[in-house]
């Protein structure tokens, strides 16, 4: 079930806003986009990862993501001196009604990371469940399938 043009627009603006927060290191504001039971998942090697049979590139709940923002802010974090510069490119956005009033959103994602004179890119697809809380959309889950997840990776930002 395709959503209305207005809702499609709203979803796209939400995704662009999320990307802008991440690109500008506004991590605490990004955390506010998440539900407390969020799962942020970057599966490994295959697309149908079983979390008990495969290591995971990321599998984080709200607390782990909060800890990650604490690390990213810490003045002695060696991976953030200088911080990598990132750009998120988001295309092919589709949205449909999910269960319990949630939205199921899918988009293509290309993240560029520039650090220490090197540029790497991470192409993939993101699948979201968005849930309305207090009149705003929140991310209840975000699963990022990298088409490069079977290659040796270099440090990955929040996608």
């Amino acid at each position: 079930m395709v959503v209305s043009r207005d809702l499609q627009h709203e979803v796209e603006q939400f995704l662009f806003h999320e990307a802008e927060l991440l690109e500008n290191r506004r991590f605490e504001e990004w955390l506010e986009l998440l539900t407390r039971d969020v799962i942020y998942w970057v599966p490994n090697i295959r697309d149908d990862s079983d979390i008990s049979d495969e290591a995971m590139i990321s599998y984080e709940g709200y607390d782990e993501l909060r800890a990650r923002t604490v690390r990213l802010r810490h003045p002695l974090n060696p991976t953030q001196k200088p911080p990598p510069r990132t750009r998120h490119f988001i295309t092919n956005v589709s949205a449909e009604a999910g269960e319990g009033g949630e939205l199921r959103v899918r988009c293509n994602l290309l993240v560029y990371v520039s650090k220490d004179g090197k540029v790497v890119h991470h192409p993939g697809t993101s699948e979201y469940r968005l849930r309305e809380e207090d009149g705003s959309w929140r991310i209840a889950s975000k699963k990022v399938y990298l088409i490069t997840n079977d290659l040796p990776l270099t440090p990955l930002p929040i996608m």
Binding site: S52, D63, R66, P78
Partner: protein, 429 residues
């Protein structure tokens, strides 16, 4: 030639110092591949990666394609993944199950034990062409220890048992943590860093760096951990001023172990796999091994380096396989270790903890990768030739009743022991 004015390979390790060329010279790297990696035993995989007859995994060993298979009789093979005809890789899937491999190019077909069983249009070959002598080549030597499969490019040399020596005592401890006495591995995360392979070996038993390199991760755990549950429980940073012989052990041939004993298990919010975390797990181990050894195994907190390409870690249950790609580039695979017979929720926790520890998006290993690439960059400087390992150089060392050299926990003699093994390998042309 300028080489005559440069120190010989065995002179690159001297006392408490190692020459920068050991890390940055491409010629040294080439010689390492030849004199170390192609001579000794290399870890290839765990037999739980191919649990059923017909299962296989492909990989590379020193850049050469291999396939590890389990044949119909249950035997594990490590074969070069190369058609004997014109050279194509015969298997191009990372994992799978197949009784045979057919070459895409001209259809030569091999069993998963390597035997050549079909040569299409064979009548066009000379009458004396013998398919029996063109099976997939096995690695010259393949042996395993309790499921850990090793191979050697060298037809001769020490047996695997001789190579491992005392390290099996610690490998046993890691494996015996599984209530069923066997471990199995989950599929790995892969990452790479822009630095020499030896940085990772040095780092794995470096008890001094954490409070600098990992301070941001430790801070997050310290401040958020107790309220966040086990995932962010971690040991306190050990005191680098500790000087009495303690937990670092030199086992020969470059193998070293850091055995933390139970000192890191006593913190209030516990660590992964420690006895306080899962009563059912401890009950199972005590049932099998008795209370004393059961508790020792449940609490085991050891880092094991099996020189030159395998690193094992009990607390964040995983091992890492190291692949030297170039003098300044190393690929790592991090495999979570699951404990057969342990409660499923504990194994889920272990896989999650291992991933968080080693992943390129994780909490700890990425800090080390940053250190490795910065060392590589810094060592480009030619006018400062030596890398120093002074901590603990004059410190106490004790040889125990098993011949293991026991060092204080904050000692760089453990890194120097790896370089001494390096020097011995490299001295032998």
């Amino acid at each position: 030639m300028t080489t005559e004015t440069r120190p010989g390979l065995q002179d690159l390790v001297q006392g408490d110092r190692v020459h920068r060329r050991v890390y940055v010279d491409p010629q040294v790297f080439e010689e390492e591949i030849r004199r170390i990696f192609k001579r000794t035993w290399l870890f290839v995989g765990h037999d739980s990666e191919v649990p059923h007859p017909g299962d296989y995994k492909t990989d590379t060993l020193l850049g050469q394609p291999i396939v590890m298979t389990r044949d119909g009789n249950g035997a594990v093979h490590v074969l070069f993944n190369r058609c004997r005809h014109r050279g194509a890789k015969v298997c191009n899937q990372p994992y799978g199950n197949s009784s045979s491999f057919s070459c895409l190019y001209h259809g030569w077909t091999y069993t998963n034990a390597g035997d050549l069983i079909a040569v299409p249009s064979r009548e066009l070959c000379p009458a004396d062409f013998d398919p029996g002598s063109f099976g997939l080549l096995p690695l010259p030597r393949v042996e395993s220890y309790r499921g850990f499969v090793f191979a050697s490019f060298a037809a001769d040399g020490p047996t695997l048992e001789e190579h491992l020596g005392r390290v099996t005592v610690y490998l046993d401890r890691l494996i015996d943590r599984a209530p069923d006495g066997e471990v199995e591995v989950a599929k790995p995360v892969m990452y790479e860093y822009g630095g020499n392979w030896k940085f990772q070996l040095e780092n794995f038993v470096d008890n001094i760096h954490a409070r600098f390199t990992h301070e941001s991760a430790t801070h997050a755990r310290r401040t958020l951990g107790p309220s966040m549950g086990p995932r962010y429980a971690d040991a306190p940073i050990t005191d680098p001023a500790r000087t009495r012989p303690g937990n670092l052990r030199l086992l020969g041939r470059g193998h070293v172990v850091c055995d933390y004993g139970t000192e890191r298990t006593k913190i209030p919010f516990g660590g992964y796999g420690f006895s306080g975390r899962n009563a059912e797990y401890v009950r199972l181990l005590e049932g099998r091994h008795g209370p004393e050894r059961g508790r020792l195994l449940a609490d085991a907190d050891i880092h094991i380096v099996i020189y030159p390409n395998l690193l094992l870690h009990t607390q964040y249950s995983h091992y890492r396989v190291l692949k030297p790609v170039a003098v300044d580039r190393t690929i790592m695979q991090g495999y979570p270790i699951k404990l057969k017979g342990a409660p499923p929720e504990l194994n889920d926790e272990l896989v999650s903890a291992a991933s968080d520890h080693v992943s390129a998006a994780g909490a700890v290993q990425i800090d080390d990768m940053e250190a490795f690439s910065r060392c590589q960059e810094g060592l480009a400087i030619e006018s400062d030739e030596w890398v120093l390992f002074p901590y603990g150089f004059d410190g106490e060392r004790v040889v125990d009743e098993n011949g293991e050299v026991v060092l204080p926990q904050a000692s760089e003699l453990v890194q120097l022991a790896q370089h001494e093994a390096w020097r011995e390998f490299m001295a032998n042309e």
